[in-house]
């Protein structure tokens, strides 16, 4: 047991049961806390973000419910550069002092059929990089689709 306790006492670790990587041990301070919940998942507050491959895609694993994991896409890192206007109030809610301290993710619906894979550009998830606080925001811009199919990327821009 003592061999597992490599982290100093100031960085307590927790074990998180993940959907794709089994049980993993992470510093407790790495966990994300939702200050405003994911719609439909109001009871889930603590999450872990981890990757199974490098790139703009991450997994958002619920700590409280191991069966709940979302696939998130950082649309800016993916080169989609959506026109999202994030309000100063939302940035402040995740404990950030500016947009540069916030990572924006979109919730992705995966499907065996690639044509059905889509992201929600209307309700992105903001994560304060320094605070690990997160919230799902609903943007006011009605042009942002709740279902943006990635297959549409192949089409010329309107």
């Amino acid at each position: 047991m003592s061999a597992m306790c490599a982290a100093p006492a100031t960085r307590p670790t927790v074990h998180v049961q993940t959907l794709h990587r089994g049980l993993i041990e992470v510093p407790e301070q790495d966990l994300i806390t939702f200050v405003s919940p994911l719609l439909g998942f109001e009871r889930l507050v603590r999450f872990l973000i981890y990757q199974t491959q490098p790139g703009p895609m991450v997994w958002l694993q619920s700590v409280e419910d191991p069966a709940v994991a979302f696939c998130l896409l950082d649309p800016f890192a993916a080169g989609l550069d959506p026109d999202m206007e994030i309000s100063a109030a939302d940035i402040a809610d995740v404990g950030a002092e500016g947009a540069d301290q916030v990572t924006v993710y979109t919730v992705m619906v995966l499907d065996k059929d690639p044509a059905q894979i889509r992201i929600n550009l209307r309700a992105p998830i903001l994560v304060g990089r320094l605070t690990q606080r997160a919230k799902q925001v609903v943007l006011t811009d009605q042009r942002l689709p709740v279902r943006f199919h990635l297959r549409d990327l192949a089409k010329p821009k309107v």
Binding site: S36, L39, F41, M57, A69, V107, L110, K112, N120
Partner: protein, 86 residues
């Protein structure tokens, strides 16, 4: 469900902090409401709220890593495909 009748410009108070005002009643049955509430209170049109909730639920359905790697094709050069690693 509580049912209350209100006229134009009349208000409701919820929890002593949320004020709903009837701003307009249109002939087509459309009602315009003004709402003032503390910042932490989230207010959405029900259709949008339901749509986002449903999309979140779809997203939380156990997804396979295979489906995730299919993304590589869609995003093209932006995303390293699974075969690029290892």
């Amino acid at each position: 469900m509580l049912v209350l009748a209100r006229r134009l410009n009349e208000q409701l108070v919820i929890n002593g902090e949320i004020f709903v005002t009837v701003l307009g009643v249109g002939r087509g049955g459309q009602v315009r409401l003004g709402i003032t509430a503390p910042k932490h209170v989230q207010i959405y049109r029900h259709e949008l709220w339901r749509e986002i909730q449903a999309e979140n639920r779809d997203a939380a359905a156990p997804a396979t890593l295979d489906a995730a790697s299919a993304l590589g094709q869609l995003l093209g050069p932006h995303v390293p495909s699974a075969s690029d690693q290892e």
